[in-house]
Each structure stands twice: as C-alpha cells, then as structure tokens.
Symmetry: C2
Subunit: 352 residues, 2 copies
Amino acid sequence: MKRFQQNIRKVVPYVPGDQPDFPDMIKLNTNENPYPPAPEVQEVLAKSNAEQMRLYPDPTAHQLNAAIAEAYGVEEAQVFTGVGSDDVLAMIFQTFFNSDLPILFPDITYAFYPVWCDLFRIPYEVQPLNEKLEIVPEDYYKPNGGIVFPNPNAPTGIALPSAAIEEILQHNPESLVVVDEAYVDFGGETVLPLLKKYENLIMVQTFSKSRAMAGERIGFAIGSVELIKALHDVKYSFNSYTMNRSALDAGTAAVQNAAYLQETTARIVKTREHTKQVLAEMGFRFPDSKSNFLFVTHPDCDAHELFEALREAHIFVRWFDSPRIRNYLRITIGTDAQMESLFAFLRAYLKK
Amino acid sequence: MKRFQQNIRKVVPYVPGDQPDFPDMIKLNTNENPYPPAPEVQEVLAKSNAEQMRLYPDPTAHQLNAAIAEAYGVEEAQVFTGVGSDDVLAMIFQTFFNSDLPILFPDITYAFYPVWCDLFRIPYEVQPLNEKLEIVPEDYYKPNGGIVFPNPNAPTGIALPSAAIEEILQHNPESLVVVDEAYVDFGGETVLPLLKKYENLIMVQTFSKSRAMAGERIGFAIGSVELIKALHDVKYSFNSYTMNRSALDAGTAAVQNAAYLQETTARIVKTREHTKQVLAEMGFRFPDSKSNFLFVTHPDCDAHELFEALREAHIFVRWFDSPRIRNYLRITIGTDAQMESLFAFLRAYLKK
C-alpha cells in the first residue's frame, strides 16, 4: 500500500438509502411530501432562463433570505440558508460547538448528529429517551457544550411543548440550544416566538418536508443577528457559492405562498390522524406523532419481516437497525389513496 | 461574554466578492462565460417538473456521472460530482490529505487551497512561482503529503505542459497529485490520458467556466475507481443529498453537447488572442494565458487605481490585495463587443 493510500480518510462505509424507482411503488420511506410544491414553484421553474445560468448565484442569497424573513417576521440578517437543513446543521455544529464539554442530544434522534460530531471532533453525550420514547427535559440541565434536538423528534414524531423547551433554555443560559424543526409544520409548536427572548437559541427548518421541495435542497436557520453573522462568516470563509440559482428562485416562490403550505400540511395532518385510527384498530402501537410520519410497532409482528414483506409489495417504509427501535417502522404519511393501499396490505398481512 | 459566544469558531472575516448588478455593466471579474450554456440546458430547464421537486434527488448522481463518464471515455465509477468544483476540491482535501507531511501548492494560486488546509488542519507549504510567475516542477520533487495546483494556474493563466506534470507524477509515486483543470478547456493540456498510467492522479473540472453554468454549481473529479470510491465514502458518510435535481438534469444536458463546448471555447480563445494583441500594443504585459482571462500589468499604471477607474465606468475586473501581484489585474475574456468597450476605456485612460 502506497503512502497516498494510507492517508485516505477512514469512514464507516455507508451506502445511500434505498432510492426505489418502480412505476407502481408507494414511497413512504423518506418523509417526502405526497403533494407538489406551491404552484408558483412550477411557474418559476418553467421560466428558468438558461442565459442567467452562466453567472454565479448570489452568495448572500439575498432574495431568498428576505422572503424567509418576511414570511417569519424577522430581519433578513437573522436568516441563514443552506443546501438543505443538513448543510445548515453541519455549519451550525462547526461554527458553534467548539467547547471541551460534550454537546447533548437524544439517543434516538436524527442520525447525522453523531456523524457531524465525529467529523468536526466535537465531544458529545447522548441522553436516552424515556421508555415512552420521549425527550426528558431534565436530562439537559447539566454542564454541556451545546444542545440540539429535533422538535418533533425523529423518528419518533413526538413533539415537546414550547414550555418544556423554554425550561431547557432557562437552565442553559450559557449554552447554544439548536431546535431542528424539520417537521414542525405538521403540528409541533415552533420556537420562533422564543427567539426574541433567548439570544442562545437557533431554529432550523427545511423546505424538504412541508414545502415539498426535497429535490431543491433548501434549509434555513433563524437566530439572533450575532449568531447568524457567525454562521455567514464561517460559510463565506470556505465556500461562497453553494445554493444554485434554481434553488434560490424556486425557494423564494415557495416561501411566499403561506396559504398553500397551510392547506397541504392540514391535508397531511388529516390523513395522519385517520391513519392513526386505522393502525390502532389493527393493533399497532405508536407515539402520538406531530410530524408527517408514524413510528409504529406491533406486538404480533417482527418489524424487519414486515418491512421486507412491504418492500416486496413495492411499499417502501423505513426500518432502523438500531438497538432500542429495532421492532419499529417509520411510515411517511402519503396521500389517502396510498395509505389505503398500505392498510389493505397490512390487513391481509396480519391475517396470515 | 457568555460561554456559547466564546465557543464561536473564529474565522478571518470575509465579505463575498463584488456582485455588481447594473444594466450597463461589463462583468469581467469572476471568469464567467459570456455565452449561454448549450441550448439543451434551456430545454431541460423549461421542462422542469415541480411535481418531481417533492422527491429527494438521486444521491449517487447516477445520470450525471454516467453522462460525464461517457463524454470523457471513463467508467462511471471513476467520476465524482459535487456542488461546484469548490465542493469537490474540499472533499478531496478532506479525504486524501491526512498526512503529517505538508501538502504543496504554488504561492500564487487558487485562494481556497490554504483556506481548506486551515479548515481541515492540513499542514501545507507554498512553493513560490518563479519571476515569470510560472510553476517550477522541481519544487514539487520533495517529501510531501500531497500536491495540488490548477492547470492552467489561476490567476496567472499559465499552463504547464503535460510532460511537466508527468515529471511531477514520476517524482511522487507515493503522493496524491490533484490537477485542478477549471480552465483547461480554453487551451491547456488535460491530464485525462495520464489517468490510465498514474493511480495517484486526480483531475478536477467544473461546469462554471467552459460550460457556462456557474449558476448551477457543478464540479467533478475523475480518478481511479479506488480513489473515487474513497471520495464517495466520505461524502455519503456526512451529507448524502447535495446536488439538486435542477443541477443534475441541466448538467447532464450540458455535458452531452461536446460540439457546443468546442464552438464557444474556440470563440473565447479567439477573442482572448485578439485581446492579447490589443493590450500588448497598449503596453500591457501579461503571461501567455491559456485560460478565459488575462493577468495584466502596465509599467505606467497603478493596478489598483486602474481597477477603481474601471469600476467607476462599470467595467468590473479583479484586483488581488496580495504581495507579489498587487500591480496586476485579472480580466475575464468577454464577448468581442465587451472587450472593445474595455479597449476604448483603456486607450482613453492611458492617454490621460
């Protein structure tokens, strides 16, 4: 082995998730929105001007940031956007988690938190969810280098009330608290109003779920002008041009249509609540999800076997090969028709 | 100051480059292509389907990688794509430059190399260009943790012949050699044929210059299957979804039209050669550029003053506040009409 081969960074080999592509498939595995983005997105895309593509995009993302600021009632200088919320969160980890104290996050949560810690050499300590798979706020009342959790949490779907988050903030005036609200539009309480009160709080959201734009890669953070400036400083210092013109234009169009967001998320919530009823009748158990997915288990079924059976029927859901949740499946809420197909499959499966 | 504020990563404050936007401006400051991308790009963009945007993009970028592989006569497994060549290069630094020995690159070169070294804590040692602003191959015949340089170099525009790069490779069988060919389509010799012979070589290119797609953010690397796999492993391990659907689709369309690439780069080369003549007649001196820009100095002019005067006339070029090149301007090759406007300004300026 040559020296240049010895120097290759060692990582845990990772194969990108299943991207099944069958005409008849029911894709409930990556929490995508079953409805298209706001109609204005189609208009903007259709009007794309290739001539403009020869020019670099605006590195400050001014148009999009201003539109987000307007939609959320904050200043433009309080908004940071990136290539999906993964990019935004990674930038937050890198910018703010530079303490010798461990950062804290739940044991069952978004899988990339420990990955970014390893990548940026950030010490961390996971806080186990309780037996109901809930975050225990008191676990976060101890010295730490920062706190991050999704709300609602993934893959459980359980939301913390704002009051509980405020308690965490009050116990941590010296720590940065990052609330990852990827799924908040489906029924969680946003920390947006708390931003005025807590200078150590950052809210992160994405266009991939409630705004149905996973394919465009747009995420954003809102926080104090000081914190957002720090994010921009770090970002600009090593890569000025990240979001492309298409994402900036389509994102701006999407965020301006608040009515459409309300309408489609309400539709998904309605389907979710109906799905809860049906699955409960079949004997499934699940936490009370406030997101666009359910995290289900069944006393008479092995989750992995069910996962495989669903897959053979071209119904794709998510199974996690992880100790405490090995007997759970995460099922994205699709259209009513998709859920009916799922129910039909499950009824037949459970009768076997 | 609170602890969370003390923990903010310290970076050299950086303000993104001038993004002037005047209707009458002549923008020759960021080496963009004056011509639009291939006509197929417009077709693909106009046909964008917003409905598809609700789905995540293909994390393996299969369609685009296959098209690049086809265009360059390599296997798909030899191709890695990213969000602009900045993303690709940063990933290469992170994946391969993990030695205690310093990596080597020129003192006058792409400004982000030292930035990524600082970011990823990679030791480096710059090798001064000679007094003609040329890379001296012999400077790279010493123990190192890797080698990276642009060819043609930026901002000088000077190209190394393939034979000189092969000498560097022969003296460095244990080191990874990264050749950043952002500008190669304007007259440089690509290392593509050398890839068959040297397993320690990686070629990096971009769609931002010769393919006129800076606004889409697409870059790529070609190397051995082993090296490209290592890049994919690192990338997937911390961010699976980076390039959006628009970039994947438009990039595929662009790379399939080789004739258009040839035609527009030939047109730019013709304008460049004419520009050389005219500027030489005015007394400007410059290295013999093989790129889409000229790096010029004039014995009777202060470069920064000229830069400011051009700017006031809404002609934007690039000046670097850097020791050895403070009296130079980098001028992108625009259309013939744009260059004529530049010439007219310069003639009047020099007569003052």
